[in-house]
Amino acid sequence: MADDFKIAQPKQYQRLFLKDEVRPDGRAVTGCREVKIHVNTVSSALGSAMVCYGNTRVIAGVKGRFAEPTINNPNSGYLDPNVMLPMLCNTKYRPGMPPDAAVSMSHKLSVLTTDITDLMELCIVPGKVAWCLYVDVVCVNDDGNVFDAAVLALSAALYNTRLPATHVNEETQLVSVDKEGEKTPLVMKFLPVAVTVSIFDGISLPDPTESEEDIQSGTVTCCIDDSSKIRALWVAATLADDVMSATLLYIQKRAAVLLSVLKKVSDRHNTSMSET
């Protein structure tokens, strides 16, 4: 019965819950889902992380290849983030070209990570060989708010990336990777964390589920780093001024919580933690 009503009149369904100051899945109106982070889940990757926001689950992995630096930047490597939304995670995605949601998220991630690590550190032989790091975030279960989970997974994966030692052969001038050598952790300039708030009937609902995303009238996404600076802000909503400032305050607090969980999980401890 309730399911039929939810399908037929989704907005009314949501309003009935909000009247009682609660969200359809039982959370408080400003409550977020339980966040779980596991790091180094994939041993074939240089660094990896799996993040769960309730049912939404994403896996991020970092792979490295060698490439020639560009002529304009002969001393810097590359870092390319991407988000994949395969057919697996939701009914609305088909195989083939990446859906618009994935394209937009990949673009947002590339904007966010432009200065996240010193690309000069990725250079092995100036002008000739540099690391090209691919960070791929694959969504395995889409239950709303994939972007937040993707940013957290990207941060966790990069924070736990260890680059293998490289060896330059003097005779053949061939650069190779030494699997047994000491690995250097990737130095990150900042750790970004994203908080998305969906706007419905003028009310801010943080961390929307998929059904809430379908009926929202707009979103506010803010990326905050570990020194409490705002790295990026995307507003796709019409908001009153006071709602906007209250939302930003909430986002700051939430970001601090997420960052504390992320910092606790690192390859030095190699544990998984959960925090609401």
Binding site: S44, F66, A67, M84, P95, K128, Y134, D136, S176
Partner: protein, 280 residues
């Protein structure tokens, strides 16, 4: 200083952040192969402590994707896969009317799954494996039960540490079973690594299957999937060279390993059904 150039022509992909076009896999510095590195033997334990015919420990969790009708996460040693089934649902292309249902399958390695980077677009090998899974599932699913409808199967490999293809078939069939789609039987598969008559390895891990050691010693790789209750072979693939007499041994050894795996999987599936019954 030089980088071996990657001669494959790549189409520029405007929808993704592609790296530089000439990126190559980093060459790995490895020790020289010495003659004392002999082929693995049946009597010796393997580097990870298993006997020659011992399967890796299996972990399985069904029903993990909220929107999918059926889904499963399978882990065998370090090889991790996730499979989802959507359907039966209305056929996407209306012109393809048929009295039997259709099966569509997509197989993909995640970009970080293998030792080398996998392009986000499906490559040739993945398309072949998709077709294999599709063919195997068409033989097992009772397609007459859902005419004019299609079933979408999607298998994504999170980490490849050996024995992926038969495990993908197994995952697909368990996911289809989890979706309450009627099937004749489960499809259960294992890999076998054959060096010579005295040296076989059941369920090789990544190092044993593709490792440098393995490539130099030669032999053959045997991927087989069977229908355990119906006692039929569903899928068989062999790479490398073996004698005709040895092929029979390989099939028998694989069969026995698949049956062992099937008992484990049936037990886990039963437990997962009982769990969902309890929740209800």
């Amino acid at each position: 200083y030089f980088i071996q150039s990657n001669l494959s022509l790549k189409m520029p992909d405007a929808k993704r952040n592609c790296g530089p076009e000439d990126a190559i896999e980093p060459p790995v510095l490895s020790k020289e192969f010495s003659s004392s590195d002999k082929a693995p033997q049946k009597s010796k334990t393997r580097p990870d402590g298993r006997k020659w015919n011992e399967l890796r420990p299996l972990f399985m969790k069904a029903g993990i994707i909220t929107k999918a009708q059926g889904s499963v996460y399978l882990e065998m040693g370090n090889t991790k896969l996730i499979a989802a089934v959507y359907g039966p649902k209305e056929i996407v292309k209306r012109e393809e009317f048929s009295l039997k249902g259709k099966v569509f399958c997509e197989f993909k390695f995640m970009p970080f799954a293998k030792i080398h980077y996998c392009e986000p677009r499906q490559n040739f090998e993945e398309k072949i494996i998709s077709k294999c899974i599709c063919d195997a599932m068409e033989g097992v699913i009772l397609l007459e039960r859902f005419p004019k409808a299609q079933v979408d199967i999607s298998v994504q490999v999170i980490e490849d540490d050996g024995g992926v293809l038969p495990l993908a078939l197994t995952a697909a069939s368990v996911a289809v079973g989890n979706a309450n789609i009627e099937i004749k039987d489960l499809v259960v598969g294992t890999t076998l690594r054959f060096f010579d008559a005295e040296n076989l390895l059941v369920d090789p891990n990544g190092e044993e299957e593709h490792g440098r050691h393995s490539r130099i010693l030669g032999g053959a790789g045997f991927h087989m999937a069977i229908l355990p209750s119906l006692s039929q072979i569903s899928y068989l693939k062999q790479t490398g060279r073996i004698e005709q007499s040895q092929a029979k041994d390989c099939i028998e050894t694989s069969w026995e390993a698949c049956l062992r795996l099937a008992t484990g999987i049936k037990k886990l599936m039963k437990e997962s059904i009982e769990e969902t019954e309890e929740i209800r």
